[in-house]
């Protein structure tokens, strides 16, 4: 194991990979700081570029972008009350009032420190737990895997979107789309309608770029944008202590950061819980347990710390089900899974046995990306105002064109451009009508695995579906799935009655 770890160190510590970490963090921070461009969009767009890279280099780039974007989103959130990324909405609650008081630099710095600390905490959880969980998952057979996938899709569908039903419909849609192409067992062509390119089914990356990047850009572009807007910033207060994080500030924020990190780390390991939920829950819990809850919403620095630490802590923990079980817990994990798949790797328990060097390389890059995030973040804070001046109007058309360029580049297939357009339009319409898109993507990725697992289970049991109920772990997943559906249904029903 030590020699494999040594190999991983050698792979990671090259000049190009170290440059990739810093570059990835910077790009992520830049794109996260521009409202309308999210970390997910950045990763989706840059995924095709990783095709020719070494697997570790590809993962380094993508994870660095994501970490940079998680902090980057808090910059416009604090300076302009416009969240750069959805999870940063919780940061704005106290971050912007701090800006109004002329303390924007203090707010940005505490956001950075909290983000990095939350990130480090969840990465340590990932590194310690993933391998252990993978060991347990190796004991899973096809029935357990089938029910685990059903449970994951149900949970993801239940917590995403306006309602449970819409989330589940999205997931079922993804499962169906995954059946286009050749049947995995008999190679019978399904639903290809004479289109040769559909023999292998829809390509993941064009679909992903369409659903996450193109649809989001269309949503951004529907706003009335009247040319290049001039942004006016709030002045800084003249006091030096208002522009830095003092020991007293840090003392006040330690418990919220720890609470946020633990909450985010726990929530992130559950499929479907994204950083936005983690950030708001941590904020709410910190306010509830504060001695002065009335100060929250008016510039309480603890609010910024709680939100930022949680939203960053969710990210690392989201990778736990991906690496250990091969189940992406959210959209970003699904995209990272896409990165693995491009490289011919299948995340899951077996990867800890077959490609341990890549896993160690991934873990090392997580830690290095946190360090880079800290230093790049300190520099970015000085130029934060300039970052947010970059006009959406100039960037969005370019990003739109890059969506199609990236899709074409994957297989040099013109058909992929059409796929991106169609899924972009579908994603846009789904968002308009309250249907979440993450369950569709995850259903698409997990569909073939689920079908194979179900078929293998039925072969083992000679056609009897009782196998899913006779195996204790499989039965446990079924029970938890049913309970999750019932609980979410009751909760949604009560919420709509209390409105």
């Amino acid at each position: 194991m030590l020699d494999i770890f040594g190999q991983s160190l050698v792979i990671v510590f090259t000049i190009s990979n170290l440059f990739m970490i810093v570059f990835g963090v910077f790009i992520g921070m830049l794109l996260g700081a521009i409202p309308g461009l999210t970390g997910i969009m950045a990763i989706a767009l840059l995924l095709p570029f990783t095709f020719t890279m070494h697997p570790v280099s590809a993962l380094i780039l993508l994870i660095s972008i994501y970490k940079g974007a998680m902090f980057g989103g808090s910059i416009p959130s604090i300076l302009m009350n416009i969240p750069g990324t959805p999870p940063a909405a919780a940061t704005a609650l106290d971050g912007y009032p701090l800006s109004l008081q002329g303390k924007s630099q203090k707010a940005l710095k505490i956001a950075l420190y909290s983000s990095v600390m939350g990130d480090v905490f969840s990465d340590l959880i990932l590194i310690t737990v993933a391998g252990f969980l993978a060991g347990i998952a190796l004991k899973f057979g096809p029935p357990e895997y089938s029910m685990l996938i059903i449970f994951s899709l149900t949970t993801i569908g239940a917590v995403s979107g306006d309602t449970l039903l819409k989330g589940l419909l999205s997931a079922a849609g993804g499962l169906f789309i995954a059946t286009v192409g050749l049947d995995p067992v008999t190679a019978t062509p399904r639903f290809f309608f004479g289109i040769v390119e559909l023999y292998d089914g829809f390509s993941l990356l064009p679909m992903l770029i369409g659903l996450f990047a193109l649809s989001e850009i269309l949503r951004q572009l529907e706003e009335k944008i009247g040319g290049i807007a001039k942004v006016a910033f709030l002045p800084l207060s003249g006091k030096p202590e208002d522009q830095k994080v003092t020991k007293e500030d840090m003392k006040r924020c330690l418990i919220p950061i720890l609470r946020g990190s633990i909450l985010g780390g726990f929530l992130g390991s559950i499929p479907g819980i994204g950083p936005t939920v983690g950030a708001f829950m941590s904020y709410a819990e910190t306010r509830r347990s504060s001695k002065n809850p009335s100060l929250f919403g008016k510039g309480a620095i603890e609010g910024v710390a709680a939100a930022e630490s949680a939203n960053s802590a969710v990210c690392g923990a989201n990778m736990i089900p991906l690496l250990a079980l091969g189940i992406p817990g959210d959209a970003v994990a699904a995209i990272i899974m896409g990165a693995f798949m491009i490289q011919g790797l299948a995340p899951g328990p077996l990867i800890f046995q077959t490609h341990l060097d890549i896993i160690y390389g991934f873990f090392i890059s997580l830690i290095l990306a946190n360090i880079a995030n800290f230093f790049v973040g300190l520099i970015s804070i000085k130029f934060a105002r300039r970052l947010t001046r970059i006009s959406k109007v100039m960037i969005l058309p370019i990003v739109l064109i890059l969506c199609f360029t990236g899709s074409y580049a994957i297989n040099t297939s013109f058909f992929d451009i059409k796929v991106t357009f169609i899924f972009g339009l579908l994603g846009y319409l789904m968002t308009k009508f309250g249907f979440p898109i993450a369950p569709m993507l995850i259903g698409f990725i997990l569909g073939p695995m689920a079908e194979l697992a179900v078929r293998q289970s039925l072969i083992i049991s000679k056609g009897s579906a009782l196998i899913f109920f006779k195996r204790p772990i499989s039965l446990a997943f079924i029970i938890i799935t049913v309970l999750a559906i019932v609980y979410t249904g009751i909760k949604n029903s009560r919420k709509s009655q209390n409105i």
Partner: protein, 161 residues
């Protein structure tokens, strides 16, 4: 024009039910009957399960929306104005993209990309031609250097270049 979310959900539930049912029947009669598999599991089984789930879920969506509306157990989310300017903007963008995809093979990737970029910026009311020209030039140059030179990917050429 106004949007009513209850009405929308009813329509969506109905449309999804109709489409899923049609798809289910087509899959059953075309794929399931013609291909047999082991232990009753044919190439059509999993698609049928997915479609079946969509049928049930769309019925539930329709029924739950109707129930909420009829019993008024939850507050009507009400109507919101559908911004015609927004709809027009998105429709125009989609039109530009369709034209862009259509002309790539005719005019070539680079020329059609320049035209699409210019059209989008004009639509977004960027009036400074210097900015438009510079951004188009940077875009094309970056794509050429990174993709063609860096990744050896050749984009479609038209009759010009």
């Amino acid at each position: 024009m106004k949007r009513n979310k209850f009405f929308e959900d009813l329509i969506i539930g109905g449309v999804l039910f109709t489409l899923s049912s049609i798809a289910y029947l087509l899959i059953y009669y075309d794929l399931h009957k013609n291909f047999k598999g082991e232990y009753g599991f044919s190439p059509a089984t999993f698609p049928l399960m997915a479609m079946g789930s969509m049928i049930i879920l769309s019925i539930c969506l329709f029924a739950s929306t109707l129930y909420k509306r009829v019993t008024k157990k939850s507050e009507d989310p009400g109507t919101e104005r559908l911004d015609r300017a927004q709809v027009k903007q998105v429709a125009t963008i989609l039109f530009i993209l369709i034209i862009y995809i259509g002309i790539i093979n005719m005019l070539g990737f680079y020329l059609s990309t320049i035209l699409a970029n210019v059209a989008l910026m004009l639509l977004l009311k960027v009036k400074n031609w210097f900015r438009i020209s510079v951004s188009s030039a940077i875009l094309i140059l970056s794509i050429f250097l990174f993709f063609e030179k860096g990744m050896n990917i050749t984009f479609p050429r038209g009759f010009l270049f």
